[in-house]
Amino acid sequence: MPDTKDIQPDVQLAPVQPKVQVEVGQQLPQYDNELTTLNLGPTHPATHGVFQNILQMDGERIISGVPTIGYIHRAFEKIAEHRPFYQITPLTDRLNYCSSPINNMGWHMTVEKLLGIEVPKRAQYIRVIAMELARIADHLICNGILGVDTGAFTGFLYLFQEREKIYDIYEEICGSRLTTNMGRIGGMERDFNERAEAKLRAFLKDFPAVMKEFEGLFNRNRIFMDRTVDVGPIAADRAISYGFTGPNLRAAGVDYDIRVMNPYSSYEDFEFEIPVGHNGDTYDRFMVRNDEIWQSYRIIEQALAKMPKGPFFADAPEYYLPPKKEVYRSMEALIYHFKIIMGEIDAPVGEVYHPVEGGNGELGFYLISDGGRTPFRLHFRRPCFIYYQAFPEMVVGTTLSDAIVIMSSLNVIAGELDA
């Protein structure tokens, strides 16, 4: 094999004419005024994360925007190539840190698909509850902050109390709050206990009133609607071309939802709707997220009511840590405990892609195993990274204050953007 280190690809190749012309942005008219260059970010309070936009401004109008990202790039894909599977879960926590459980479960399900592990129904239902709670928390943050960016702080404070309660439930399920590392390959690390159930029931009881109050504050609020209706619209065909998924795509009127298209973790057992918007503007994104919160609420109620009895982990001794009692008592459990912790299990050869419906859209894990103890290659399809490239197209022609609102409603999470 030639030494690839010496090969520097020539980036200055002459551009060839693509088969189909793609329009990048729009043709800018000639400006007589003096233009201002504005650095929005990297540490601007309104960007909600570390990323930068270099905006060319004519007065308050934006005439072009160039996003610069990668400020919190942590090389997760490279690190993952050197970690046994169970040590990759904490990396996924830090992708979209507003809804870590979805990332964790997505990763577990990817590995389970590779290994052919069938997870018991009870574990699947617990996972559904955790994932839907995460979706609620994710949307609460996005919509609450959208309110803050339009000048309404109250709704944010109301919602953050509920988010706090969701984090309390996480704590009962897995012991941690923000970066959850929840679940294990093959099931959950512990059963769904009474305290978790009590907290969940209390949350389900209190939440609708708060959410209704929030919706009452915003949904038909004149000031809020003036700031969001017809701001940053994106048509369905552009959104699809830009790889939009999740609430941002559904706001444009496309009912694409992985939970329905490719059900995983028993989502086919539950009754829920896919809310869609009309023209994909900021208001539609806000409303779609609000409606999705109610649908998630419905799913949690059903999952709790139908929660099956039985084991909460699969019979996968090579991946699921044996109970500690067993480790002290039985030789076999001790061996497996040691082998798992030291990462001495060889995975089968194969390549698998598993998508889940993350807080922001299709969160995909593409895992290639060459039969070793670590992934040969692991790629995260991060919805934020893919749809954020549409941001310049969406903000050109709007004002700076609208750009902030558009960015906020896209729910760009820096951790997921940069991986």
Partner: protein, 165 residues
């Protein structure tokens, strides 16, 4: 819409240039030559029945031990009308890691290809703005290539062989 129907149609159109057709975990996977990868993508895009019009992802792989095929670019396409996914691989040698761009078909391919270039140094011919996207611009290597180890090579207390890496 079965995978067999798709592959029958594709082989009728492209002959036996499509190699290594298999279905790992139910997803149709094949290798296309890099000269006509855009034709394949365009054909699948325009096909009246298949309608593979959503680009899920583009990513690179470094198969360090495959001489002549060191780099692969993987396209995941999704047909929403049929709810079928396909995975297309394109190989390129390390001496000439150049693949035509898909930005003409999908706007989303822009940053996906920039990311692939950023980490593997795979050049997408015809890309409107092929610069690094996540790493610093003055970086002079491509970190996801297998020749770059993760850990600091000056440390002797961490021997990968102990951990089976």
């Amino acid at each position: 819409m079965s995978n067999q129907a798709i592959i029958d149609d594709l082989t009728a159109r492209f002959g036996d240039t499509l190699l290594d057709i298999h279905e790992p975990y139910g997803m149709l996977t094949f290798t296309a030559p890099r000269e006509n990868i855009i034709d394949v993508l365009q054909y699948l895009y325009n096909h009246p029945a298949f309608k593979f019009q959503f680009l899920t992802d583009i990513m690179g792989i470094n198969y360090a031990e495959l001489p002549g095929n060191e780099f692969a670019v993987v396209y995941h396409l999704h047909s929403w009308t049929n709810n079928v996914r396909v995975r297309i691989k394109v190989f390129a040698p390390a001496t000439d890691p150049v693949v035509p761009t898909a930005t003409g078909l999908f706007a989303a391919a822009n940053w996906m290809e920039r990311e692939t270039f950023d980490f593997f140094g795979i050049v997408f011919r015809g890309h409107p703005n092929l610069t690094r996207v996540l790493n610093m611009e003055d970086m002079d290597y491509f970190p996801m290539r297998k020749e770059y180890p993760l850990e600091d090579q000056t440390r002797h207390d961490k021997i990968d062989a102990y951990f089976g890496r």
